[in-house]
Amino acid sequence: MDSQFFFHALIYLGSAVILVPISKRLGLGSVLGYLLAGMIIGPSALALIGEQSADIMHFAEFGVVMMLFLIGLEVEPQLLWRWRSSILGLGGLQVIITTLIVGFIAYKIVGLDFNQSLSIGLIFSMSSTAIVLQTMTERNWLQTSAGRNAFSVLLFQDIAVIPILALLPLLSPDKVAVNVHQTHATLTEHLPQWGKTLVVLGAVVSIIVGGKYLSRPIFQMVAATNLRELFSAAALLLIVAITVLMTLVGLSPALGAFLAGVVLANSEYRHELESDIEPFKGLLLGLFFIAVGASIDFDLIAKKPFLIAEIVIGVMLCKLAILALLSRIFKLRVDQFMIFAFALAQVGEFAFVLFSFAKDLYIFNQELFNILNVVVAASMAMSPILMLIMEKFLLPRVVKKLPKRTREHDTIEENNAVIIAGYGRFGSVTGRFLKANGIETTVLDANSDRVDSLRKIGIKVYYGDALRIDLLKAAGADKAKLIVIALDDSAQVLKLVNIVKKHFPNMHIITRAHGLNDTYELMDAGVLHVFRETVDSSLRAGTEALKIMGVRAYTAQRAHDLFLEHDEKSLKKMAAARHDKKKYINVLRKRIQELETIIQNDIHEKPIHTHTGKDMTTLRLKDETEEEEV
């Protein structure tokens, strides 16, 4: 590997690691941090990286594909069907109206020719999936109605790219160029129209069928190897395969990945997939934003500042107005409509691809192309700033006016308040008990066979190693109220306790402990609810034994309760003394004696009657002697 690669990696990673935390600290969000990093290291400023940022951008767009896959995992198929009106209606109208209005302005006011105007209209109607989804995820807005609608529009735009790619050659003034540049080398280019349609349908069906029936046995096999990195490889393979397949048939890879995500939304490997893809997605998206930042041509902006500012402001205002209008038609609440409109107001990354395609078709000359590219990049860079202004200044005003009780956000259905780690003999009983009481749990278990058999009987268990922070996050640990740790291995229990204490202090912890040593260690780790797995059942057995030996049931029950209470109290003293063997044995002996006295006094032979205060021993003796006489 050449040193150039490492040098670039150093620049990219270094700039991100320095600037993103600063940006986040300032409340500007990560996207702006990445963009700033890109601008600073880009050719226009420090010029630490050269012109290759365009290539990197294309590569990093893979992050968008992953992002859509991840979103797909959160969307169950039924949900998608419920959103059809916002996808087709809202998304469709947004693309059409924006195309018409932007095209009209370009044609009538700017004075471009018809084909150029139409192309610009179409391309400017696209928004940036990467920026919108990243900023919304960061703010937890994806589950709100604004988030859902924005996502629907983005999804429609993803679909719309296909006909736009087909339409652009028809707008080319140079028919020769069309033939040369029909270079979106797809397998289907030589097929007749019906054949192409068939292949496309076939690809979609194969994703659905493959996702539904093939992925499980494959993931199962991979999981059985117990090699974590192999599972990551399989997850990546899935996405890459979809991307290749989609590119071959001329569909958007993001769309295909989204579809695959939806198909796998119900899979038991969902959380595992999520946590495997998440870091790659994050890195690639970061890279993507850096590349966008680096691609902003500041020289051009410096040369024509007013023209570019005019176009950027004009386009964004235009999109904003159309989105606002649409969200009123689709009856979004004021706060939601504001989020929705501001989020989608930029021009998206598709524009880079589409503009360069159009340039190759001689629709635009180099000069116009350069200007348009700067506009796109600038509008993307403006977008997080715009969101920030909206969030800090406009949103609080409208939210204040809203009646309080309507302010409820939709939540992800799988974000249960209770997480159960380990669904073996212990965890499963706790889980069933909670479920019977109407408390839904998110269950994580690392035993692949067990996950399978549990799923067969209809219990939703996710395969995964609960010690992984990302997996816990995917299971909703950030918002959960409680985690029940019932892993088989006591060392793992302790590890997980420490992870939860450090990363998810919001959760209460209930743990299972095997023996006394585990119990002490868990108590030392600060767990308040430690349950020794055998104590309760042993005591119940003892209680039953007492009954068989002639002790009355309630008395036996009280003895049981008393024993348990005393035992749990003495645990603390024993935990403190356990490192000194002599002391420990002394404490232990003393506690056992105490216990005997307490139970004897309290239950069996307490000499003083609770109510009359009489000495029961003499009383009983008198009664017995008298009975003998009678």
């Binding site: 009355r552 309630y554 008395t555 109510h611 009359t612 029961m616 009383l619 008298e626 009975e627 009678v630």
Partner: protein, 203 residues
């Protein structure tokens, strides 16, 4: 009158002398069914259906218990709360106990005289039993005066055994339907009826 259901609650029956003797004699009778609550439900998890079934099958219900704090032990209150439910025992369609007889059989360390305005316990015993009387009324049952053992702490074998014997006689009499309910209702204690009818038992 027929079948008797003896519902008893004593948290430490093994330490009791009087309640144990009374239970022992009651168990000797065919027509008496005993529900020993603290033995059946040590964790207070009462099976409503089962207990309602026993009540439906009986004609006379005896609540046998020590008189803790002028009332029953906790589990018997729980029993009344869980079993004597709306729609079954009372309410528009609750008539399952209608016409049945119910009374308390209790043991107390206080003297009979102490349950008096000028004495230590300040009220007559019957006024402490008003909740049971009213429960019977709401459920359409006949509430009879209590069968009482006073000075239970001082009652040694002789008195204790005598009290149990009289209890057995009382239950037998009820089983044979050998008495006039209205006449019983007018008494202060059921004990008084036995004194009048069977003075021999006091020997």
């Amino acid at each position: 009158m027929g079948k008797i259901l003896l519902v008893t609650a004593h948290p430490a029956l093994e330490k009791s002398r009087n309640n144990v003797r009374m239970l022992r004699v009651a168990n000797e009778l065919d027509k008496v069914t005993v529900r020993d609550l603290y033995e059946l439900y040590p964790r207070f998890h009462i099976n409503t259906k089962t207990e309602q079934h026993y009540l439906e099958e009986s004609d006379v219900i005896v609540l046998q218990h020590p008189f803790y704090w002028y009332s029953t032990p906790a589990l018997m209150k729980q029993y009344l709360d869980m079993v004597f439910t709306h729609g079954w025992a009372y309410g528009k369609e609750g008539n399952k106990l209608k016409g049945k007889i119910i009374f308390n059989s209790l043991t107390t360390s206080g003297t009979r005289e102490s349950y008096h305005a000028n004495e230590h316990n300040r009220y007559p015993l019957s006024s402490y039993l008003v909740p049971f009387n009213q429960l019977a009324h709401v459920c359409g049952m006949h509430y009879l005066p209590p069968y009482v053992l006073h000075e239970s702490g001082k009652a040694f074998a002789t008195e204790s055994i005598r009290h149990a014997k009289k209890f057995k006689a009382l239950l037998q009499m009820i089983v044979k339907d050998d008495c006039d309910i209205e006449k019983l209702k007018r008494l202060e204690y059921l004990n008084d009826f036995l004194e009048m009818e069977m003075p021999a038992l006091n020997q």
